[in-house]
Each structure stands twice: as structure tokens, then as C-alpha cells.
Amino acid sequence: MEREITLVVNGTVRRVRVPGRRLLSDCLRQDLGLTGTHVGCEHGVCGCCTVLLDGEPVRSCLTFAVSVDECEITTVEGLAREGAPSPDLRSEGAPSPGLRSAGSAATGATREGDGSQRPSRLHGVEAMSAAMSPVQRAFAECHGLQCGFCTPGFLCTVTALLRQNPAPTDEEVLEGISGNLCRCTGYQNIVKAVHRAAELLAEEAPAGQGERR
């Protein structure tokens, strides 16, 4: 009944044996130890478990791990590295941070190989802040979270939303986050955070950089 599958999670190749019924959310949390992905309702309503599958946000509680064998997953743990300005990458003349964050996880993840470029042993708020992606920084800055339970889902959803639509209107933001529930904030600061993240991304993007699609 069990099957070995291969997932590229946050740029790292992971092999894992799972039964057919293992939800991707449980695979990430239990088998791979990535507990940043939160599990709320487990029937697709709350959006807490949203992750990026080949760059597109999906509900990991409504996806079987075996169905996404050989796919690339970005969880909240991978957003920082994906979107944060990484000094060594910049000095190498590699794609700029803005371009990297605008690129698909599908291309970004493999290029980064085993994930050794992750700023691993950072300490202190400043270091953390520097490592955070623009979307994460915007949520912190605008108080777009309170208890934080829903935040991983919002961050993944919004990261993908801004890739597709770098300057969304209020209405487009509401439509974009309509599948994520927050029981604390009343959403006002989350909407502000999305707009702020769009500004931060625009500031970091080199001039003339086009939309992804």
C-alpha cells in the first residue's frame, strides 16, 4: 500500500514512503517535519494549509502526497529564501531578488539545488527581517496577523497572487484571499499588507521587469 515518492520541497529533494491516503499536509508536517504548514479544517474551507505546488497555490489538505510525486512544493518555510534578497546571489550577477521572486517556484527551486544557500543560522530580529520575503515583511509591518495560525496559508496565497498580479486593486485582493479565513484580524490589516507587499516587490524589482504572464 505504501509508495516511495520524490518531492522537491523548498528546493530540496526529499524522498519519502507514504500510504496512498496520506494528505500532502500531513506528509509535509509529519513525514518531512515542516510544521509551518498549518492544518485547520481539513476540508478545504479555511486555507491555512495552502502551499505552492509547481508555483500555484493549492490546498495541501485536499491533495494526496502520492498525486504530487515528482512535483515541486514551496511551503511557508521556503518563502523567505525564495523572496528575500540574497547578497551572495546578487554579487554573482544571478537573477536579481525581484526577478527571483517573480519567477516560478518551479524554476526557482531546482536551480537552488540542495538549499544550501538558505540563511540558516540567523539570529535576532534584524537578521530575520532581512531573510523574510517582501510578503512576510509586509505582514509584519502592517500587523497582518495576530495569532498567526492562518498566516502560512495567507503568505503562500499572497505570494502567488502578487506574482500573477503585481498591483492588485482592493477588489482583486479580496477575491485573491477569499479562500483564506482569519478569525483574528478582521482582514483590514491583511489587505493593507498585500498592498504593502506589492510596493515592496515593486521597489525591489529592477525597472522594466515585466509580469510573469
Binding site: 500500500m1 509508495r3 500510504p19 496512498g20 491516503r21 494528505l23 500531513d26 479544517c41 481539513e42 476540508h43 478545504g44 486555507g47 495552502t50 505546488l53 500555484e56 497555490p57 493549492v58 490546498r59 489538505c61 485536499l62 491533495t63 494526496f64 502520492v66 498525486s67 510525486d69 496565497t157 497572487l161 479580496l174 477575491e175 485573491g176 477569499s178 479562500g179 483564506n180
Partner: protein, 305 residues
Amino acid sequence: MKPPPFEHHAPRELGEALDVLARVGARGKVLAGGQSLIPMLNMRLAAPEHLVDINRVASLATVEAGPLGVTVGAMARHTQVERARAHPLLTRALRLVAHPVIRNRGTVVGSLAHADPAAELPAVLAVLGGSVRLARAVRATPGAGGGAVPAAGEGGVAVRDVGAAEFFVGPMESAVEPGELAVSAFFPALPERSGSAFCEVARRHGDYALAGVCAVATLDEDFHLAAARVACIGVGPVPLVVDVSELCGNRPSSGVAWAEVARAVQDRTEPEGDIHASAAYRLHLVGVLAERALKEAVADAMTGR
């Protein structure tokens, strides 16, 4: 909230998928996007012994637009079809299906096969008079010609097209039989000088509608209403199609007695009350929405898109 155990099959080819389905019959379910099936498994409302996961069958992830209409393959996801903008009414309706994140995974054909009486896509298929193509593996008759029982895959494929009127059998029940796979759906193109609209009322954005109406209106050369049809959801066991062409009667839309048309649509529905809305409220909604959708469809036809 964990799915019950099942055997997972991951065919890469259509033939392989049909063979597995033929073998497991009524003990199996097809897994495409899983956005309805997996919640049902998580809540233990369904417990199939076998899941035939068609996510790897790349040949089914197609959207083909032709002069007669659009054919959507079983693995074409909502988002993919929405972005293809292949059919104006289908594109409109897709924006009302759940949330963007669900649409990244859910499939159009899966929504049809799920046959939820409040879902949008069955109404689109119904109002357009579209059809669903069902395929099954047929094995050569065992013993024919004195040979051994043929191995799976040696037989052919039997295909049948089922029109929308026969496809939706009841709430959550479609004409797909055990061993069959809904391989594609065909959405006929709108006639010339036609417009469409989809109006619904839901408790929350992205929820299933309490009631909804999709409408197609066709104008003649003098911009008179030549034909008009609606399909209503949430007010009966299957999408209810009402042809209101006669009531609209070859007049310019300003001359149509819309209240009468709305009443005629209401008369055909049999809404039921539940925790979300009473039967009377649903009946009220379907009248208001029918008028609104028809007027919007006429306006859409006038703009000539």
C-alpha cells in the same frame, strides 16, 4: 478528518486508466482534482476501495476550441480553462466556482461528474445543451476463437456521448457508470448575436449558491429576442433548463414582460428549504436572478461579444 485507506492507482495512459477502472468497477472512484472527493473522503462520507488517480494522464489535460464549441478534457483544471477563455459563458461561470486556490486544482469535468445540484458548471452544460463523453475498456469476449482470456488492455474502448439532459440524474448523481471514465465534456459555441450571463446568490463569496441562474439570449437581425434559455441551480435535484423563447416572443428586450418570464421560471422549479435558506426564499431568488441574468445576457448580446 483523515481519509480511509484505499489502493491508489496512478496510470499514465488513458488505456491503462480504463483497464484499472474496468477491473475495480463499483469499488473504485476516479480522482482528478479531488476538491470535492477528498473532502468527502476526509469526512468519511465516501470510502472507495480503489482510487484511480488520473492526474498523470497528460493526454486528458486539454482544452480544444473549435467552431462548434469547446472540448474540455478530464484533467483540464478550472484555472486552465478559465485562462483559455475559450467560451464566454464557461469563463464567466468558472469565476463563480469556489475560490481561485480551489480552481487551481479542481477540474471542469470533475465538477460535472460530481453533479452537485448547486454547482455552476452543470448549469452551463445544461443551458448550452452540451454533452459528456464516457469511455470504458471492453475486453474481447473470453474464449472467443478458442483463445485464452485476453489480458487487460487487449480489448478496445467503448465510447458514448451523453447529453446534459440525461447526464445529470439526481443530486450528486451522474450517468457515469462503474468502470466508466468521463474523458471530456463538449460545450457548444453560442450562436451568432448571442449573449450569456450567470447570476447567483451565495451566503459567502465562493460558497455554493443558494440559487443561481445562467442565461443565454440570442437576438435576430433586428435585435429582437429570437431565443432565450435559462438553467437554474439550487432549486431542484438537477440543473433545470427553461426555454423562455416564446414568452420573450420576438420582441426587443424593452418590450418583454420580464415579471411574467420570471414567474414562468419560478413555476418550473421545486426548491427545498434547508439550514441556509427556506424554500420560499430560494423561489424568490430564482425569479429575481432569472430576470437579472436574462437582461444581462441580452445586454451582452447587444455589445456583440
